[in-house]
Amino acid sequence: MIYEHSRTGRRATAQTNPEMDKLSDIPDALLRKRPAGLPEVSEMQAVRHYTRLSQKNFSIDTHFYPLGSCTMKYNPRACNSLASLPGFLSRHPLAPDTHSQGFMACMYDLQEILKHVTGMHDVSLSPAAGAQGEFAGVAMIRAYHDARGDTARSEILVPDAAHGTNPASAVMCGYKAREIPTGRDGDIDLDALKQALGPQTAGIMLTNPSTVGVFERRIKEIAGLVHEAGGLLYYDGANLNAILGKVRPGDMGFDVIHMNLHKTFSTPHGGGGPGAGPVGVSQRLAPYLPVPMVDYDGTDYIWLTEKERPESIGRLSAFAGNAGVLLRAYVYARLLGREGMHRVAEFSSLNANYLLKRLMEVGFDAAYPERRASHEFILTLKKQAKELGVNTMDFAKRMLDYGVHAPTTYFPLLVPECLLVEPTETEAKEDLDSFVEIMQTIKQEAETQPDLVKQAPHTMPVRRLDDVRAARELDLAWKSDS
């Protein structure tokens, strides 16, 4: 804890002037009586402390990180360096257009690239993350219905396997979320969908390939049914990596989509963000896109704001979203180009299908063995849990001991004892082979010495944590007497 290095009167003195400016013109009643209780440490103590903390993390740069649905691929360093050039870092968000043409050119180009790669009519870059993109998308669906006076539509349909953000976003836009079951083959249950559709349907939110790791084959039929009922189709871009440059959501019949640039366009996950969740729309939803957007008038790049786009659902952050993340994604898109984007889908699918096949060969069960994997796949450890008493969480924790970040566990909820594995295209064959060996070893351990697995991890900075205590005896901030 940084506070443990703190001593009264110790300061990182290189950072400030020794003399403090006067505050005498501010009324005393508005002033703070004593400095905030922040740590008092030297610069070196801070550097050493945070360097050591960083070493307690698994990360893409240090470990294989096959966290399903999160696309933990290599984050090229050039993206960070080039987005951090002084001209970009020092640009004030409200700087006049004359001091912004370079930045705006990058944003305009990125809008165009994302439009073409998704097959949408228009793109706005401003949503700050996937969930905000979802909010924007559903808000646009609502704005569209409202503008037509079609106000009786009250429901958004979501598959039972959807990310939790889908129903939560629908509710934030004032809709009810209604779940549609997934069929045994991993595709959506079409009969249930038909029954759910009606004059109350505002739209449906789908991920394709879906969260169970397979491509929804009847997407055209679904699009037809939803449109016939007067609803719109929302594409959750969480799994865009699987089809980048191969299939476009716009061609599948989606009206509105969001992309997760921190997944598909390899901007860093940063220990939980910042992300970026641009939205793309078909022509009929274009007027409602969130502002600001960038346009080009033939000579200059210009901002489109509430003034130029009065039907917009509005602004979702004070300025232009996570601009620095967008710059990183732009650099990535230029490094890859169209051929590179094509290869993202090809090699992420090759890696996933190879890894699935190898794991099945050594005795693991696929949740959907008859289906082609997309860029990720689901294993179910139902058998191991039943026969050996070693569950998915135990496997996940033991993987940490072998230097692999665990895949996503217990999501989607409909597959029991599941592991959602996404190796991504940037992993080499030998790393996938090594993962298979680790899984095989853990399986043997589970058979011969199950406690070793059930007690795992053994080599991390801490052993399994008491989550119940964390929630019951809330300790959310350091206090000087604790």
Partner: protein, 465 residues
């Protein structure tokens, strides 16, 4: 192939294991008519060297003007160590700490962040961040409507002294849930919330009053009085504060008798570069009794099987991945890396370091204001005390003045005429600790020339025919 490690042999071996003859076969479940063409409209890939050249040219194009713009984003010194540590791969390329044992670095750092934010704001608890200040206010409003069970109206009092963009963002985010934002005017003399307007709403049903400190004009509000008024009228008090200002100003948790109930704001002044408006981070703190209404990640300290202290995501039953449509918000990914920078920034600066920085901003802004007000017909508009921004009235249109200054490579401030037409030709100026006397003199002399050029009386001689 950029970033793809496969050799031709690897590919063939892998295809053989899968039992297909080509990579293309892996896409055979996708109907043929959906497959797209080569996407010619997307440019071909470029080597890093060429992309570097392109980006350098574009970054240069934007120049590095002398910045006196604030209005919600501030040009501060950031200790070199902050971003050198933050971009370590172990922070930069990790994700949300779902596997706690393998993420103790991020988790402990977030716990330290929560500790520092509560110390700075005087509140009980903090979450682990939201997207930005404006969207954090929208979440605070939603939270207040849920938490204030006595209020049924879903109405919120929103002063016009609050950042206009924050008001717009809040409107976009909450409007589909039947929440109404009611504006409260300001006192033309002081630049503070007009308490006589506020008094008209006394006794009415509102879930909360929003209190900015400092407000958008840079002016300090009488926060004790406003907080008391809100509580006396059954409303929650939502503080919207600048975290750097909190180092010298009375913390939100101490406003009035009982303190503000929720405190949110823009974290950018804590270690985030201007960078065109993002990524920054929104912070959200509250009283402990409201913690279950909070949106976003929260980290708790606990113990492991051996009783050793450790950190974990907690109160997850509020969140979308557990609660789905019943969650407090849809937020998932937040602004983790920016919080990493902010935590290191606050640790290095310390409470006193931040006070020095804040006081220097205050001093420089006062010096700037005096220098500019020494020019003919330039005057300060409001009498209320300020933190590090001030509204100045110019003898020519704000748009023309700022445009002319920009041509001199000076970003002279924010044009208030669109959002506050009644203020006419007024601009909002800011001088952070980075804008010293030489910079201020440059601004003064350039504004002097701009004024002289534009208000020069036109030639009186008329041709006489």
């Amino acid at each position: 192939m950029p970033f793809i490690p496969h050799t031709e042999d690897d590919i063939q071996e892998m295809l053989a294991v899968i039992g297909v003859d080509s990579i293309d076969t892996l896409f055979d479940e996708i109907p043929d008519e959906l497959r797209c063409d080569e996407l010619k409209a997307i440019p071909a890939g470029m080597p890093e060297m060429e992309v570097s050249r392109l980006m350098q040219a574009r970054a240069r194009e934007d120049g590095q003007p002398l910045c006196f713009l604030g209005a919600g984003a501030y040009d501060h010194h950031i200790p070199a160590a902050v971003w050198q540590l933050t971009t370590r791969g172990e922070f930069y390329t990790a994700y949300t700490p779902y596997q706690a044992e393998a993420s103790q670095g991020t988790l402990q750092l977030l716990y330290e962040y929560q500790s520092m934010m509560t110390a700075l704001t005087g509140m009980d608890v903090s979450n682990a961040s939201l997207y930005d200040g404006a969207s954090a206010l929208a979440e605070a409003v939603l939270m207040a409507v849920r938490a204030n069970r006595k209020s049924k109206s879903g109405r919120i009092l929103m002063p016009r002294t609050l950042h206009p963009l924050y008001r717009r963002v809040t409107h976009s985010i909450v409007r589909n849930q039947g929440i109404e934002l009611v504006e409260v005017g300001y006192d033309g003399k002081t630049g503070q919330v007009d308490t006589s307007v506020l008094e008209q709403y006394a006794g009415e049903d509102f879930a909360a009053l929003v209190i900015p400190q400092p407000n958008f004009f840079g002016v300090l509000e009488n926060v004790d009085e406003l907080t008391e008024w809100a509580h006396a009228n059954g409303m929650l008090a939502i503080a919207v504060v600048n975290p750097l200002a909190m180092s010298i100003l009375k913390p939100a948790g101490e406003w009035g008798e009982d303190g503000a109930d929720i405190c949110c704001g823009e974290g950018q002044p804590m270690g985030a570069p201007l960078a065109s408006g993002g990524p920054y981070f929104g912070f959200l703190c509250c009283r402990e009794k409201l913690v279950r209404q909070m949106p976003g990640r929260i980290i708790g300290k606990t113990v492991d099987l051996d009783g050793k202290p450790g950190y974990a995501l907690t109160l997850q039953a509020r969140e979308q991945h557990i609660r789905r449509s019943k969650a407090t918000s849809n937020i998932c990914t937040n602004q983790g890396l920016m919080v990493t920078a902010a935590t290191i920034h606050m640790a290095i600066m310390g409470g006193e370091g931040l006070q020095h920085m804040a006081a220097a901003c205050h001093g420089n802004t006062e010096r700037l204001s005096q220098a500019l007000c020494s020019l003919p017909q330039v005057e300060s508009v409001f009498e209320g005390p300020v933190f590090h921004e001030r509204v100045l009235k110019l003898p020519l249109s704000a748009k023309d003045a700022l445009k002319a200054l920009a041509a001199h490579n000076v970003q002279g401030g924010f044009d208030l005429s669109d959002d506050y037409p009644e203020l006419d030709s007024a601009i909002l100026v800011c001088a952070t600790e980075l804008r010293g006397e030489e910079d201020i003199e440059q601004y003064r002399s350039k504004l002097e020339r701009v004024i002289a050029a534009q208000v020069q009386t036109p030639c009186q001689l008329k041709p006489d025919w």
